[in-house]
């Protein structure tokens, strides 16, 4: 690796080690609460939770895929020697004192160490795929910091595997590419959105297409089959967040995002030079306008769309504006842990500062939901500008 690139990675690592422990979101706790049962030998987490719900201090179901449970459960076992001794007391404390642990800062640091590895891994892949500029934007943009270390969801792991898959696809190592995309999908369903784009990236005959589909399905089949016949597993996934939210916005009872998705896929399929990044940018813009997304879902697209948004200055500026509006949308959600609550490892009193939602309703007597709708409209308008073919610098 070049010396300058090495310097960037070391500085990025230092910044992550400083920032990662300072932020908290309850999702990381609830997920790790479930992951701890692997160390007790509970392989079928869905059945275990269903049968023991009444005795558990946290009673929500485990709504993720088996590979997520098995891999992160194993990860937690590996991280155990590094964790402070009261980690499991905190993990099982869902009472009034749950946020009052001085070591919360180190729980966050250790639990996010795997995220740092995958995050820097994405940086390396972006450097190999594009150039130093894309790497710098990935390593030092505040949006990825927010999505990876503040919201601290595990989405960074499937994002890494989907980008690795794209890298291998570009190197024409198709079978391996589809296996990795399958692994990403076995961790979280969303890379299914990317699958058709990957499938038609190279012109292939039917035999190769079937082989790629099989390679993609293999990790899913291996990890899901043992669980799929237990009713608890099916229950945990009935009404999955993504499927519901993607089909929520309708005109004449027709869900709009799936229609937009099909149009983008058709344009991509019939185009001569298959520009995945551009298609994913359009998918992303449609997504933030038409889907009531969970904030961490923005990360799915981010590594793929940095390259096309850097192509012209105006696109970069408009994208920054779109991100700003999306972040405003997020902070207006009625959840203390989507704003000041993130900072409780520094001071628990952050939890009692009025959230933007409370300020808007109580001080300005406005409806945050109405403001959110207006923000979506503005985002939709700005997104339209991306369709205009500006002269591009790097093409």
């Amino acid at each position: 690796m070049k010396k300058r690139i090495k310097e960037l990675f070391v500085f990025a690592l230092i910044l992550r080690l400083i920032l990662a422990p300072l932020f908290y979101h309850p999702d990381i706790k609830s997920q790790n609460f479930h992951f701890q049962f692997l160390s007790l030998g509970k392989i079928n987490i869905y059945q275990y939770i269903d049968e023991n719900k009444q005795f558990l201090p946290y009673r929500d179901t485990f709504n993720y895929l088996p590979l997520t449970y098995l891999s992160f459960g194993a990860g937690q076992i590996l991280l155990r020697p590094l964790l402070p001794s009261n980690f499991f007391t905190w993990l099982n404390d869902w009472g009034p004192s749950q946020n009052n642990y001085p070591d919360l800062l180190y729980f966050m640091l250790i639990l996010k160490l795997p995220y740092i590895i995958f995050d820097l891994g994405i940086g390396y892949l972006l450097y190999k795929l594009y150039d130093k500029k894309v790497l710098i934007i990935w390593l030092f943009n505040p949006l990825s910091f927010y999505l990876i270390y503040i919201l601290a969801n595990f989405d960074i792991v499937p994002v890494f595997f989907s980008l690795l898959s794209f890298y291998l696809l570009k190197k024409s190592r198709n079978s391996l590419a589809f296996i990795f995309l399958g692994i990403a999908t076995a961790l979280k369903f969303y890379p299914l959105l990317f699958f058709p784009f990957f499938l038609f990236y190279h012109p292939n005959n039917i035999q190769k297409i079937i082989r790629n589909i099989f390679a993609f399905l293999l990790p899913l089949i291996i990890t899901i089959i043992p669980f799929v016949f237990t009713p608890f597993f099916v229950q945990a996934f009935s009404g999955s967040g993504l499927t519901q939210k993607i089909t929520e916005f309708k005109i004449l009872n027709i869900p709009i995002y799936p229609v937009i998705y099909m149009i983008i896929l058709a344009i991509y399929y019939f185009s001569k030079n298959k520009n995945i990044e551009k298609s994913f940018l359009w998918l992303f813009l449609g997504f933030i306008v038409l889907v009531n997304y969970h904030p961490q879902w923005l990360l799915w697209f981010l590594p793929f769309i940095i390259f096309p948004i850097l192509k012209t200055k105006i696109k970069t500026i408009i994208f920054v504006l779109i991100v700003f509006l999306s972040l405003l949308y997020i902070v207006l959600i009625n959840d203390q842990f989507l704003f000041w609550g993130h900072l409780i490892p520094i001071d628990i009193n952050y939890l009692y500062i009025s959230s933007p939602y409370q300020i808007v309703t109580q001080r300005f007597h406005q409806s945050p939901e109405l403001i959110q709708q207006q923000l979506k409209l503005m985002t939709a308008f700005l997104s339209l500008i991306f369709i205009y073919p500006f002269r591009e610098k790097n093409t």
Partner: protein, 202 residues
């Protein structure tokens, strides 16, 4: 040495903003009492009132929160909350209509800081019924109650925050404190080494 300085400045800036500046700027009050877990057992019927003594050790109490319940939000009767000092002098008083009470909800009452050391909270209501408006309390009739104390000036808050962060640091696992700081220092030394290497070596 000069090359590493700009990186260290950025790291210290991030640290300073998040650990020192933000808390001092934003946290303008500290949480005092935080008593939860009671049941809706004290009916706020006309003629009944309930009292609770509290201390004000910092002489700057600026809010109290009580947990109340209006089942199915049916009763719109007035509820009175008064804060009296030890001599029985009224310091602050509030009245709330039942329609503003959830099923249940915490009601936070903010006011300018009170200096008296010992205070009494008195809660009463005008409900016609004994089963439509309740105050949460434990078996000894101690209210579910939260209080907060004001930190008036930026200088006060900087000072309070430094004490708070030092205590928090001391309460954390010492091994983790040492390992964490050692990792950051080692990585910075490595970065310094990289920066001082001539370009043609890489």
């Amino acid at each position: 040495m000069k090359k590493i300085l700009k990186y260290i400045v950025v790291e210290l800036f991030v640290f300073f903003i998040l650990i020192v500046f933000f808390p001092a700027l934003l946290i303008r009050e500290k949480i005092g009492l935080n008593i939860d877990g009671g049941k809706p057992k004290l009916p706020l019927q006309t003629g009944k009132f309930y009292t609770q003594k509290i201390n004000n050790p910092t002489h700057s109490i600026n809010s109290i929160s009580l947990q109340l319940k209006n089942p199915q939000i049916k009763d719109n009767s007035l509820i009175y909350i008064e804060i009296l000092d030890e001599a029985g002098e009224l310091q602050r008083d509030f009245s709330i209509y039942g329609a503003n009470i959830g099923d249940p909800s915490w009601i936070k009452l903010d006011f300018s800081p009170i200096e008296s050391t010992n205070l009494v909270i008195r809660v009463s209501g005008e409900s016609q019924f004994d089963n439509s408006l309740y105050l949460f309390a434990d078996q000894n009739n101690n209210f579910d109650l939260k209080t907060s104390y004001a930190l008036p000036t930026f200088k006060d808050r900087i000072f309070q925050n430094l004490i708070y962060q030092t205590n928090l640091f001391k309460q954390r696992s010492m091994w983790h404190n040492i390992l964490y700081l050692a990792s950051i220092v080692s990585l910075n030394l490595y970065l310094k080494k990289l920066l001082n290497e001539p370009f043609n070596k890489s």
